[in-house]
Point group: C2
Chain length 275, copies 2
């Protein structure tokens, strides 16, 4: 498989969250020839949704996803506040022309150890957000997070679990496949095939470092870790996935401390050589 050219890449703004605001990310993506961008909501709101939408359009960038809806479990009930916030997320995704709204579903409620109860909250919240997504034409993409985040970030942790939910909820909902979260899974190939083109809604890349020094902010640049990215990309492309390869690297100790243009150039180089 040949490597990726920059027009096949999308910059998830978390990758440069310490260096660039959204306007700078948009400008940087255009200047480096990226095909798209995937904003986080905090940066989007800081810039203003309408202004961001215009700037992204003017730059000719696709929006591979909006990060993120979800967080259904925090209060221990799917209350109106979380439903409203997810509706706003759908609206924002629509306004910037995002290809999907990425859902980080939430972990255990505060002081709870009841994982089955959390799963129930998550499915209820997803169902209600999906209703609005169908009304408005926005795709909802569950991002299964690595099992090390089950307690505090997302209690949907495998493609199988996410697809079981998708099967129950019907059309309009699928998965965001992030190699960092799913690379270890012995069922991955089968579950990506099960998902198929319609339900592989996004593909995120970075790398798993050995050793990993922090559970949250020590992701690696592609090529610096142990994930076989070409193999995983081959799996989603075999199903017909033709979206952008979204680069999402949380890296407090390394990439967040570097010159942002150096980071962009490194991404381009690694996409060409190791992805």
């Amino acid at each position: 498989m040949s490597g990726l050219t920059p027009d096949r890449l999308s910059l998830n703004t978390a990758t440069l969250r310490e260096q660039w605001n959204l306007a700078q990310c948009i400008e940087g993506c255009a200047r480096h020839g990226f095909g798209g961008i995937a904003p986080w909501r905090d940066k989007l709101q800081e810039m203003g949704v309408s202004q961001a939408a215009r700037a992204i359009r003017d730059a000719g960038l696709r929006v591979s996803g909006l990060c993120r809806g979800g967080w259904f479990t925090a209060s221990g009930a799917v209350d109106q506040a979380v439903i409203d916030d997810n509706r706003r997320a759908v609206d924002e995704a629509l306004e910037i022309g995002a290809e999907c709204l990425v859902m980080v579903v939430g972990g255990l409620p505060t002081a709870s150890r009841d994982l089955p109860a959390a799963w129930k909250l998550v499915e209820e919240g997803l169902a209600r957000t999906l209703d609005y997504g169908r009304e408005t034409g926005m795709k909802i993409a569950i991002e299964p997070l690595h099992p090390m985040y089950a307690g505090d970030r997302a209690c949907v942790n495998t493609m199988r679990q996410a697809l079981d939910i998708c099967d129950r909820l019907g059309p309009g909902i699928g998965c965001a496949v992030d190699v960092y979260h799913v690379w270890w899974d012995h069922e991955l190939a089968g579950q990506i095939a099960r998902a198929g083109k319609d339900r592989v809604m996004a593909f995120h890349i970075c790398d798993w470092l050995v050793p990993t020094r922090d559970l949250l902010t020590d992701r690696g640049m592609m090529g610096d870790g142990v994930i076989d990215i070409p193999y995983l990309r081959g799996l989603v492309e075999a199903e017909g996935f033709d979206g952008l390869n979204e680069v999402e690297i949380f890296s407090a100790l390394d990439w967040w401390t570097r010159d942002p243009d150096e980071v962009m150039q490194t991404i381009i180089e690694r996409a060409r050589t190791v992805c």
Copy 2:
């Protein structure tokens, strides 16, 4: 469910690895009324296997498992050295009367990103060790490790994956269920039922801390984290598991720094109140 009395507990020696050698662990378990012990091989060899076996027998302790065989992937081939080492582990397990030999199967070979190849090595190594386990009457228990260890410690990461291997290899091999590694898995209840009494060979307890500050050495004391231990214990006991509850806590920042008798007393108290 009522809590656990000390006679239902086994001390995995890793819990006090910085404070006590094996002779001290044996004496401490007897003095605190524990039902058993689970030595690591380094401590066992340091004491001498025959002497340890005698001391454990004299103390009236069961041996819930020997930690650990496995590590089949390190060199990139299942060579004679690793097979011999696993045969020695079986012999040691027999000599101390262990109820099973716990297998930590190994992660990716050095400089490899080929997980399917690692899985193949693991299955070959397990099959060959199982042959010897059957000859000698020692049960082989695959310990699925948390997915965050797939790169460097074990590329078998779920009960489903372990049981798929067991199904292929036949009788004499099963699982060590450690709550720390498997608590997040939405399939856990079903897979423990699938395992059944014969294949749930060990049950390890500790807790998952939120936040977790280190991937390897920040496990929690039961009750300090988010794992619903009584629920998980109920799942294995519903299948007929009647082995000991083995306490295995890696805790560089906390429990390894404390007075060992305080740790033992805390384990006893927590076993009674939150397990």
